[in-house]
């Protein structure tokens, strides 16, 4: 049913529901908002009262309007309206959908889907028969379906990773019998594979044809084979058109789809190719599994990388590093030959290995010297590949890091006094990793080192001259390989280094470093590569279907992806070869004039309004709910809310710069040594006493224990990081300011994470009494009342604190007596028998006492006590120091001493 030409309702009869709107209006009008319920004991007193103004027991008109609107929207939404005109059918005959479903259609597959959906819904209304012909996998005869079945068939339709075969599809279509001349809609991918106008002509013979193609600027993109460069990948992106600028980015993805690096590309107007440089360090680059064009989901915009594309780090070492005559030096040729596939480091063995080289190339080094010999032997045994080139030095004196025994001297061929002509290379044996490489005729060898004949020489030989003498020999040593070229790396002995074969051979040798077996390498004509994973049209990896056939090695470079060989990785776990969609020579050609007018995909022609209307109705109902709550008195005052928010914001502003001021110097100092620390109370005399006391204690610790504390540090609880200090000394003084919330949470965190605070209430220093009303204790309550303190108990006689270093039973400081409190220990295990010492798990987070220890520990520069102790005597000061040492040892070693005191018992038990 269509209104106003553009608005269509799928279920028009539901609109009848709008009739009930007046009824809803009436009901809502008479129902007052439900009252708030309050229990109120003096109800009796209220009963006689009349509210001076009875509430209008009606809903306000605007609320009413809101609700009616919501109801109307729901009714409208249920009628499933769509805006826009459904496509007009072309005619009355059967409808044929000729769909290009190659990878080139994948990037805008949604457009195809909506076009197909529109066409099918049109066909369903008209009751037309439908045939769907996917051009990329048209195999069987075309079946003519009704619109409903066609809908299901269309849902199965997906792009594939090869190119369509339109000619095949057209010929199949031509064989199909239709009741009348069909209307053909060709949903093309906009590309011409050289036969577009022929196909258009062939289709026109079957019926009337309409062609859809991507709008200009939306044609597919493809990735050309990347080139692997020293600093990353260079990727060429091609497009089908040349008009207009277009830009985007390409990304290198790892094996799990993680983005390793991205690079932008931009097509200039008039160009169909653009370059992107993805910069990646070598280690990361070898992790790259594929390169994709971002936001272009198609197999053509995806390049799979196989192990061949991995770059190796190669160390190149030569006897002479002089570079004054580059064209004569081995290094020059080796560098040029290795550069396409490897990162070459020149220099010493250690330099190369420090850069994680997996291949070492030694040019004309006869004897590897002492330390280097050990290093290289280990390198090979651990899986490295050592490639050596012969040279004048090797004819005289050779170490044993060679695959075969060599005869001293050498062999001259084709010299003035020689009988023989320079030798050519023989074809590579099948066991050689070089197999399959073509041997150019012009490569000759005029000098070489000779291998000592032996029984196993044959199996070590990878390449021979035509007279059978080995040219390349190799042997496995440990996990690694040693490969010897019996000629020089430069053109002095042969012209092999001047040929392309040299590059290929070195490439194969580099692959040894990836752990491949020589027999797996090379593309032996008979090797079969089964499909390992394949790409679908969108460029997503999937398991290969049963259709996918293995590839023969000899076909690998010639194969284009097809239904039988989809693009993807071929081979076995660990050694795979990539078959990519787009080759170096491939191009994307736009479909030109094919004799039929080409229309663009119009995107969605009809826009469904239902979700929009429903969400609008939901929003209105939510607003209504909020308003209803407000009317019923669940009020919130927006001004108060605003005020609170602004206070919060202000507080955050004020706090932030404060906390952001990280004092690096302090942290560095605190972290580099274990310092004793005290809390800066802000009361100068107390702080000075703390510093002097800890300094004194430090001196005693230095003298008597193996712990040598550096100068004690004062800690500002507000700004400093407490995490560095195992022990904090904190004297209490009524003049101390209250702590900020941040400081409190810091203290709590410190105690939670294993820090120990020694709190000194300094009872007799501050007043005449001990106990609850003492100023120190009251300060403690004021400062730390809000902190989560563990349950405390007076130090029990068997507590580890009494045994951590000295054996102590009381803990005097400047004053004697009083109790020292620690975290309550778990009750002793009755089964364990009498334990000489007990400690909890870890260290007590607080030790609280009131004997003003700092004053007792404090010494002046001459080492004399600063403050007299009371009741007095050297013994009391000594005991105070011993307590200090015990506390520090306790904070540093925890319950270690508890274990120590069990040692005799343990020894006794093990002795039995």
């Amino acid at each position: 049913m269509t209104f106003f030409g553009i608005l269509t309702f799928a279920e028009p009869f539901i609109l009848a529901g709008l009739i009930v709107l007046p009824a809803i209006w009436f009901l809502l009008r008479v129902t007052p908002p439900s009252p708030r319920r309050v229990v109120f004991p003096p109800l009796r007193l209220l009963l006689g009262l009349n509210a001076t103004e009875e509430t209008p027991s009606r809903t306000p008109w605007w609320l009413l309007l809101l609700r009616l609107l919501a109801a109307a929207l729901i009714v409208l939404a249920l009628a499933a309206p769509t805006i826009g005109e459904p496509p007009k059918p072309l005619g009355n005959g059967p409808l044929v959908l000729f769909v290009d479903n190659g990878w080139a259609a994948a990037h805008a597959w949604k457009d195809r889907e909506s076009a197909i959906a529109d066409l099918l819904s049109g066909a369903e209304h008209a009751g037309r028969a439908v045939a769907i012909v996917p051009t990329a996998n048209a195999v069987g005869p075309v079946s003519v379906l009704d619109a409903g079945s066609a809908q299901r068939a269309a849902e199965q339709l997906a792009p594939v990773s090869w190119l369509p075969d339109r000619k095949q599809a057209a010929s199949i279509l031509a064989k199909t019998h239709f009741s009348s001349a069909p209307q053909i809609v060709w949903l093309s991918d906009g590309l011409d594979y050289g036969d577009a106008s022929d196909i258009a002509g062939a289709l026109s013979k079957i019926g009337t044809v309409k062609i859809l193609a991507d709008a200009p600027g939306h044609l597919p993109l493809a990735l050309k084979p990347e080139s692997n460069r020293a600093d990353g990948f260079a990727v060429n992106v091609v497009r089908a058109e040349t008009q207009g600028a277009r830009h985007g980015s390409v990304s290198a993805l790892g094996a799990h789809g993680e983005n390793l690096s991205s690079a932008p590309f931009a097509f200039a107007n008039g160009k169909d190719e653009a370059t992107a440089d993805i910069r990646l360090p070598l280690e990361v680059r070898n992790e790259t599994a594929r390169i994709v064009i971002d936001n272009e989901e198609s197999a053509g915009a995806t390049r799979l990388l196989d192990s061949n594309t991995k770059r190796r780090a190669v160390g190149l070492i030569s006897a002479s590093n002089t570079n004054d005559q580059p064209l004569l030096s081995d290094i020059y040729y080796l560098d040029k030959a290795l550069a396409p596939y490897a990162d070459v480091t020149k220099g010493s063995v250690n330099e190369a290995l420090s850069r994680n080289a997996s291949v070492l190339v030694l040019a004309d080094i006869g004897r590897i010297a002492g330390a280097d010999y050990t290093t290289i032997s280990k390198f090979v045994a651990d899986g490295g590949v050592l490639v050596r080139f012969a040279g004048a030095r090797m004819t005289q004196n050779v170490d044993d890091l060679i695959p075969v025994k060599l005869r001293s001297g050498g062999r001259y061929l084709g010299g003035a006094l020689a009988w023989q002509e320079p030798q050519h290379l023989a074809p590579f044996p099948d066991t050689s990793p070089f197999r399959g490489l073509t041997v150019p005729k012009e490569v000759t060898v005029s000098r070489q080192v000779l291998a000592e004949p032996s029984v196993d020489l044959g199996e070590h030989t990878w390449a021979r001259l035509t007279d059978g003498t080995p040219l390349v020999t190799a042997a496995q040593k440990g996990k690694g390989w040693i490969v010897l070229f019996h000629v020089t790396g430069g053109p002095a002995w042969s012209n092999l280094p001047l040929s392309g074969l040299y590059v290929e051979m070195l490439h194969r040798v580099l692959d040894l470093a990836s752990g491949a077996r020589p027999s797996d390498m090379g593309t032996g004509a008979s090797t079969m590569f089964p499909a390992y994973t394949v790409l679908d049209g969108f460029g997503h990896m999937m398991k290969p279907s049963a259709d996918a056939l293995p590839l023969r090695g000899s076909q690998l470079s010639k194969t284009k992806p097809s239904r039988l060989h989809p693009a993807g990785l071929y081979g076995n776990e660990g050694a795979q070869v990539a078959l990519n969609v787009f080759g170096t020579k491939d191009t994307l050609d736009p479909m030109g004039n094919v004799g039929v007018r080409v229309e663009a995909y119009s995107g969605t022609s009809a826009f469904a309004l239902q979700p929009l209307l429903l969400s609008l109705a939901l929003a209105l109902l939510l607003i209504d709910a909020v308003i209803s709550l407000l009317l019923r008195g669940f009020g919130f005052d927006p001004r108060r809310l605003l005020a609170r928010l602004s206070i919060l914001a202000l507080a955050l502003l004020l706090i932030h710069p404060n906390s952001a001021r990280a004092d690096d110097a302090f942290d560095m100092k605190a972290a580099l040594d274990t310092h004793l620390a005290y809390v800066i109370t802000g009361v100068p005399d107390v702080d000075q006493m703390s510093a002097a006391g800890l300094k004194g204690l430090g001196a005693y610790l230095h003298a008597r224990t193996s712990y040598d504390p550096k100068d004690p540090m004062g800690v500002n609880l507000d700004t400093d990081n407490l995490a560095f200090f195992p022990l904090l000394y904190w004297p209490m003084d009524p003049r101390e300011k209250d702590l900020s919330p941040q400081a409190l949470s810091k203290i709590a965190e410190y105690m939670r994470n294993g820090g120990t605070i020694l709190i000194d209430t300094r009872d007799l220093t501050l007043g005449s009494t001990r106990g609850q009303d003492n100023p120190g204790e009251q300060t403690l309550k004021r400062l730390l009342g809000k902190v989560d303190m563990p349950p405390l108990q007076p130090v029990p006689p068997d507590h580890v604190l009494t045994k951590a270093f000295y054996l102590l039973q009381d803990f005097p400081g400047r004053w004697d007596g009083g109790k020292v409190w620690v975290e309550a220990l778990p009750p002793p295990d009755p089964d364990a028998g009498p334990a000489p010492a007990r400690g909890g798990d870890g260290v007590s987070p607080v030790i609280i006492g009131g004997n003003d220890w700092a004053a007792a520990w404090a010494i002046d520069n001459e080492g004399r006590g600063l403050v007299a102790v009371s009741p007095g005597g050297d013994r009391q000061r000594e005991m105070a120091v011993r307590f200090g040492i015990n506390v520090v040892m306790y904070a540093l070693t925890g319950n270690y001493k508890t274990d120590q005191v069990h040692v005799p018992a343990l020894l006794q038990r093990t002795g039995k």
Binding site: P35, R36, R37, F40, P41, P42, L46, L49, N50, R632
Partner: protein
């Protein structure tokens, strides 16, 4: 286990859970005030010296004050001042309305009333007075046991009576009545007169939830009685605030007049105020009438 036993156990657990904090709260309150036993200005049981008198034949020989007797020819007996303790009956309203707590108060009225009752009881027992929970059928007694028994009664088996029942009392005792006094004024007056006739004098402590006095409600509201039997809907209740407050004030005034006419004291206490204030005021009121007290 029978249903009765289960119920008993539940109650016991309830007591165990509720008793200590309540008692402690009451004790803490009471520790603010210290007091003495009131002397009766005549000889009898007591601790303070009253007079020496000549030994008579019926006196036990242990009563002879030998030190005094040695000063003269006669034997003397030391007499002490008779210190009689008061009997105080406490009664707390346990009606459903007392269990009300508005958003503006921290405790229910019944909790506050219980705390005050126990705190007063604690004070009284420490002063040597005899106390009893009115209507529990026990004679007034003194000491911690009495206090514990009252706590047990208040928490374990709370009565839900709105007004004090008819129960035997000893004459010339003091009666302290904690309630929200929201029963009809007529009923309250009848009860009060009955108690006065029985020879009791005392104190009404009017426990008020702040919402009951201030009426801070707005908008369309359905007011329900605590028992849920009655309800009434009012629109725009903020407009009723003035009238309601006047009515509540008048109600309290009437109560005060009534108590004054019968020679009783009246004390209003809002549950958002500190209970110590009420306790001190209560003690002043009781002490002013009955005994010498020192407010610490």
């Amino acid at each position: 286990m029978t249903a009765d036993q289960t119920r008993l156990r539940d109650i016991a657990e309830q007591i165990a859970a509720g008793l200590p904090p309540l008692l402690v709260a009451a004790e803490r309150l009471a520790s603010v005030i210290s007091l003495g036993v009131h002397g009766r200005r005549k000889s009898g049981m007591g601790e303070n010296f009253w007079q020496f008198r000549r030994f008579q034949a019926e006196d036990p020989s242990t009563a002879i004050d030998w030190r005094q007797s040695a000063k003269s020819q006669h034997l003397f007996v030391r007499e002490r001042e008779w210190e009689a303790a008061e009997a105080v009956f406490l009664w707390r309203d346990g009606s459903a309305g007392m269990r009300f707590k508005s958003d503006f108060a921290e405790v229910t009225k019944i909790d506050r009333a219980s705390v005050l009752t126990l705190a007063l009881g604690s004070l009284l027992t420490r002063g040597g007075e005899r106390i009893a929970l009115y209507g529990d059928g026990r004679a007034p007694s003194t000491g911690r046991a009495a206090l514990n028994r009252i706590a047990h009664e208040l928490i374990g088996t709370p009565s839900d009576e709105t007004l004090p029942p008819d129960a035997p009392v000893s004459k010339n005792s003091t009666f302290v009545w904690f309630s929200d006094f929201l029963s009809p004024l007529g009923e309250i007056e009848t009860t009060l007169r009955r108690l006065a006739r029985a020879g009791l004098s005392g104190q009404l402590v009017h426990i008020i939830d702040p919402a009951e006095e201030d009426f801070p409600y707005q908008g369309r509201t359905r007011f329900e009685s605590p028992a849920g039997r009655q309800s009434e809907i009012f629109g725009r209740v903020e407009t009723m605030q003035g009238a309601y407050r006047a009515r509540f004030r008048a109600h309290a005034e009437t109560l005060r007049d009534l108590s004054r006419r019968l020679g009783w004291g009246y004390l209003a206490h809002r549950t958002d105020k500190r209970p110590e204030v009420a306790l001190v005021a209560l003690f002043e009121a009781l002490g002013g009438a009955e005994a010498k007290m020192r407010i610490a």
